[in-house]
Amino acid sequence: MLALVVVETVVVALLAVLVVGLLRSHGEVLRRLHELGAGVYEPTSAPDRGGRAPTGRRLRAATRAVANDLNGVSPTGSAVAVAVSGVRHSTLLAFLSSGCSSCAGFWEAFANGGARDLGPHTRLVAVTRGPEAESPSAVASIAPGDVVTVMSTEAFRDYGVPGGPHFVLVDGPSGTVAGEGSAPLWEEVVALLQRAVADASFAADDVAGADVADADGHTTDRAGPRHGGAGHDRAHLNGAERATRADADLAAAGIYPGDPSLYPGRPQQGAVTGERDGMDEAR
């Protein structure tokens, strides 16, 4: 009987050591996963007060707000530079890998026209690590032909991306990171982006109007960056920008300065083309 008790005690002690070891190992695994950015799928509860709604995880601190243009190579060996700051459109940078299983769904979504979900004012650019870390032929085989794909380890470093999939939304006019994060599905990324855009528009309205106090009586902070994303807000434009944009929209519709349709009460005059050139020249 005593021998049985001793054996059981030894077994229990061994099991206890084993459990402790497993817990430590589990803790280490979680710690490493956290370092790699895992656990980013839990959406935060509310948009921050800067009008920048969080995407999959919290936005970068202000020190990371400046967005760098991309410089690298294409999967087919071209040398490329892609502008994301100082441009009129927003850019959604999709940091992916050709090998990770969680990235496969995004490549597939892009091949199925996923970029169209972003709207006309947001450009999708896929980014992988450079040829020293990724196989260009593997990336070429998986990257859709109509999506700009840049292989650049430097971009991963610049944006502090631990690994794919990870998404960064850059506001082109201000050249700042408007939001970043991740989600397991492309549809969720799009939804998070749309929410961020809606919140940014809300902030813009706030800037244009009177002070808005929240339920606690605190006025809303309006310091968020301008946002030119899928819902690019014309309220952001100044007078000259609005005039330029109106000219561009009219030109796209085939209406140029001097077009008779702009002067419904006036009798038609000479050739529109000649008038247009003359007026443009005079500007």
Binding site: N71, A79, V80, D146, G254, D280
Partner: protein, 166 residues
Amino acid sequence: MTATVAAFGLSVEVPAGWEAEIYRREPDAVRGEVTMPILHAANVPLARNRGDYGGGTVETLGQRGVFVALLEHDVEAAHTALFSERRVPWPLSGGEFRPNALQRNLPGQAGCQSFFVTAKRALCLYVVIGSFGLRHVLASEANRLLSAVRVSATFPVAPRRGGGSR
């Protein structure tokens, strides 16, 4: 921070707001095609799929857009009359742009094209601007990029032969 794009003995320091690509199209092996280096740059997004003369991108220029293409030709072409000019054609002036100098005529746009030899390489410069009326302003914008273009003679101009696409 200015990015430098370099390949095949061509390089450009890309100004802010511009983007650029230097590539050599994959030749069609069946047709025995030979391809040469091409530099594209624009102050609008370069479309992923575009023609060597900017088809796919020039349609999106808008009034203030500029598209620049520098296309290399066979070295033998350097000895033809077409390539008799021995200096780079930039800086450009607004007067060099003509609406009828476009590969594809688009309303309001204008273009200019020059053939020249530099660093023993035969090159064609083709520039499209979004507005003929703004040609003087847009020529300056084009010069902002062109002034940072470098052509090296050290590149072994070996035509690429094979099959596939860019």
